[in-house]
């Protein structure tokens, strides 16, 4: 019996399932169960009046209706989210690429200096947010002090509905540049030397080499990075919360911040999880687009 079982587990055509079992159990407990529970919460009335009850009233899609239609804030906050995400992806890629391209050049201490740039990335977002809140302070902040030398007068960064979003984007871009830099660096060093040499012999200028050789070769990395940046931007909550708490007047409230406020300030778990599920659906759509248009193509090209 024992020998049979041993054979079934370690040496049969079903062995692969047994090997997957630990991972499946883990994913089940920590990914699928929370997802299903989130869905359960989002279609029930779960707030302080019903939280400790055994049967919470089923309300169908009412929570979704409330946040999308009745609250009247969905379009504004969705717009904020779009601005936040798109700006982050754009600036993180461009600046990350610039840093990576600069530090792959061989000069003294280029590796050590690249290491220094990474320090920013290992700092917790809450600390980064607090530091940036002081940098952006209208009166005693460093940024306004620096800007005063070029004749720009006092900007009330985080106290203005127009500038606050720019402020949190700057902080978030700063926080994520090192990650972009590292991934782009590894793509850059993997470009075969002979391709670069061949293009140099053919007389390509450095700009042509960048445009025609380097960028096409690291495109798969850039695409994957763009998707990661989108997903990471949705995790900008900690940074925004420590800088503005979504204010002034919702101007820096993105969907995850709203979800947090509904869940943990108003204890309206139904609405909070409805928002969380909307975020999930958006991210799944983005990931599917990425897989459909970029992953297969990438394989086809490289094979």
């Amino acid at each position: 019996m024992a020998a049979k079982l041993k054979k079934l587990i370690f040496d049969s055509d079903k062995t692969s399932y047994f090997l997957m079992l630990p991972a499946l159990l883990f994913a089940g407990a920590f990914t699928f169960y929370p997802l299903l529970y989130n869905f359960y919460l989002s279609v029930h009335k779960v707030d302080i009046s019903t939280l400790l009850l055994d049967n919470r009233p089923f309300v169908g899609l009412e929570n979704y209706m409330h946040v999308i239609v009745n609250s009247g804030d969905f379009l504004d906050i969705f717009g904020n989210t779009l601005i936040f995400v798109v700006s982050n992806v754009f600036f993180q890629l461009i600046i990350g690429f610039a840093f990576a391209y600069f530090f792959v050049q061989k000069f003294y201490f280029h590796k050590q200096m690249r290491g220094f740039v990474l320090i920013g990335w290992v700092m917790p977002p809450v600390i980064v947010g607090t530091i940036w809140r002081w940098l952006l302070n209208g009166d005693v902040g460093f940024l306004n002090y620096a800007l005063s030398f070029v004749g720009v007068s006092r900007i009330p960064w985080l106290a203005s509905t127009t500038f606050a979003m720019i402020g949190v984007i700057m902080a978030n871009v700063w926080l994520n540049i090192p990650f972009n830099m590292i991934l782009i660096t590894s793509a850059l060093v993997n470009i075969p030397e002979d391709v670069k040499e061949a293009s140099a012999i053919d007389g390509a200028s450095s700009f042509q080499r960048l445009r025609l050789i380097v960028l096409p070769l690291i495109k798969p990395t850039l695409m994957a990075l763009a998707v990661l940046n989108i997903i990471f931007s949705f995790r900008g909550f900690a940074l925004i919360w420590s800088m503005t708490m979504g204010g002034p007047v919702n101007s820096t409230t993105i969907l995850p911040v709203w979800s947090y406020v509904e869940t943990f300030n108003h204890y309206n778990f139904g609405r909070g999880t409805a928002l969380a599920n909307i975020i999930l659906i958006l991210l799944v759509i983005i990931s599917l687009i990425y897989i459909k248009f970029f992953v297969y193509k990438e394989e086809g090209e490289t094979l």
């Binding site: 209208g138 204010g247 007047v249 309206n268």
Partner: protein, 405 residues
């Protein structure tokens, strides 16, 4: 053989670890939101342990911005602490959802309910029953930088008493020194904005059901005036109360709206300061303030409620509550203690706060106060960033009404 010795030593190690805890003492868990090294809290627990050995208190500090979330998590999992301290503004939320134990009978048997301030005592009541006791109470009043007052040619002994006088004084203080803001208040996108604004709303003769009235508009315009005229930093929108006080203590402000906890950053101040009463609106004439503070409660889910009550009752004894709050620059919920102990009668600032407390009104009590407060915060921020006052008040009132039903 080697294996046996190893197994035995591991077993022995486990046995040692688990026998250290004494079996005869009952351990209760106590969550508080004061700072990690709060001198009063440390003292009160030490004192309790010194006086008896039946109950042991396991103290856990939770940051005040996290304690409600931690409590909510504890309630949903059922693994709750035995005693907790939480804000009086959200207290009704917990009592209404059945989180706290009904201690009405215990309080009546104990017989000290009449010794507390009335407003705070209302905040621990839900549907006529008691669910806790006020640990400390506070209110907002105003502080002045005496040095700056004198430089501006103002008499620090006659602080501004009316809305107009506050405006006049602020103008006088304007430009006395570089980078000095005449007046400071806090309107961050959380409960702080509501807390700091409500006194002015009440002073104007409005309340949270009448933002969209001439009185409500006037209150909103009053704050807007200081920001528009450059008498208050636009950063009032992103500066929490505590940081505001740190800034005042650094000499960057002429007057500031703050609470008794402001004395802590002021310990390092290199100038003389004074506290004074909230101003009155000429038409109403009452220096209203807002009631803050924290209540202590026993969790309904606790299976050691008798031990928990023993500890709670101990903390509320005259000599204990006096030290607990006095050491940490707070004001006790027990009015008899606040009005007789030298902690509050001999400290000019705290004495003023015990007087200001007589005009302090509670928020709510409403079970969904946080949800009601949200549109108020938004309205204040809208007005301070340039939205038309009447428009903001109208929309804000609609939002408030929709969550009040």
């Amino acid at each position: 053989m080697k294996k046996t010795i190893l197994t035995l030593s591991i077993l022995l190690a486990f046995a040692l670890v688990f026998t250290v805890t004494p079996i005869n003492a009952e351990t209760i868990t106590f969550w508080h939101m004061f700072t990690e090294d709060d001198p009063g809290t440390e003292w009160v627990v030490d004192q309790y342990h010194a006086e008896q050995d039946e109950v042991e208190v396991d103290v856990r500090y939770v940051h005040f911005s996290e304690i409600d979330n931690q409590l909510m998590r504890a309630l949903t999992t059922g693994d709750v602490p035995d005693v907790v301290i939480t804000g009086s503004d959200v207290f009704a939320q917990w009592s209404s959802m059945g989180a706290f134990a009904d201690i009405t009978d215990r309080i009546e048997e104990w017989g000290y309910a009449d010794y507390y301030y009335e407003g705070p005592m209302n905040s621990v009541m839900w549907e006529g029953r008691y669910y806790g006791l006020p640990q400390n109470v506070n209110a907002l009043a105003m502080f002045m930088n005496v040095e700056l007052f004198e430089e501006a040619g103002l008499d620090p002994d006659s602080p501004p008493k009316t809305w107009d006088e506050v405006k006049e004084y602020a103008h006088q203080l304007d430009g006395v020194r570089d980078n000095v803001s005449p007046i400071g208040f806090s309107a961050t996108a959380d409960e702080t904005a509501t807390f700091q604004f409500l006194p002015f709303l009440w002073q104007a003769g409005a309340d949270i059901e009448s933002f969209d009235s001439p009185e409500g508009h006037e209150a909103l315009s009053y704050w807007k005036y200081f920001v528009d005229e450059g008498l208050a930093f636009p950063e009032v929108l992103s500066t929490p109360q505590w940081e505001l006080m740190v800034s005042f203590a650094a000499g960057n402000m002429g007057m500031v709206v703050n609470g008794p906890w402001g004395l802590v950053p002021l310990e390092d101040a290199e100038f003389e300061y004074k506290a004074f009463m909230m101003p009155v609106h000429e038409d109403v004439g009452v220096p209203y303030s807002v009631l803050g503070g924290e209540n202590i409660a026993i969790l309904d889910g606790s299976d050691k409620q008798d031990a928990a009550w023993d500890f709670v009752k101990f903390t509320q004894r005259e000599d204990i509550i006096e030290e607990w709050t006095g050491m940490s620059a707070r004001i006790p919920g027990r009015m008899d203690v606040a009005q007789s102990s030298p902690y509050w009668t001999e400290n000019e600032v705290l004495k003023l706060f015990t007087e200001q407390l007589e005009y302090a009104q509670p928020r709510g009590p409403l079970p969904n106060w946080a949800e009601v407060s949200s549109p108020i915060q938004r309205m204040i921020q809208e007005v301070l960033t340039g939205t038309d006052v009447e428009e903001a008040a109208r929309e804000g009132q609609n939002r408030i009404n929709s969550v009040m039903e």
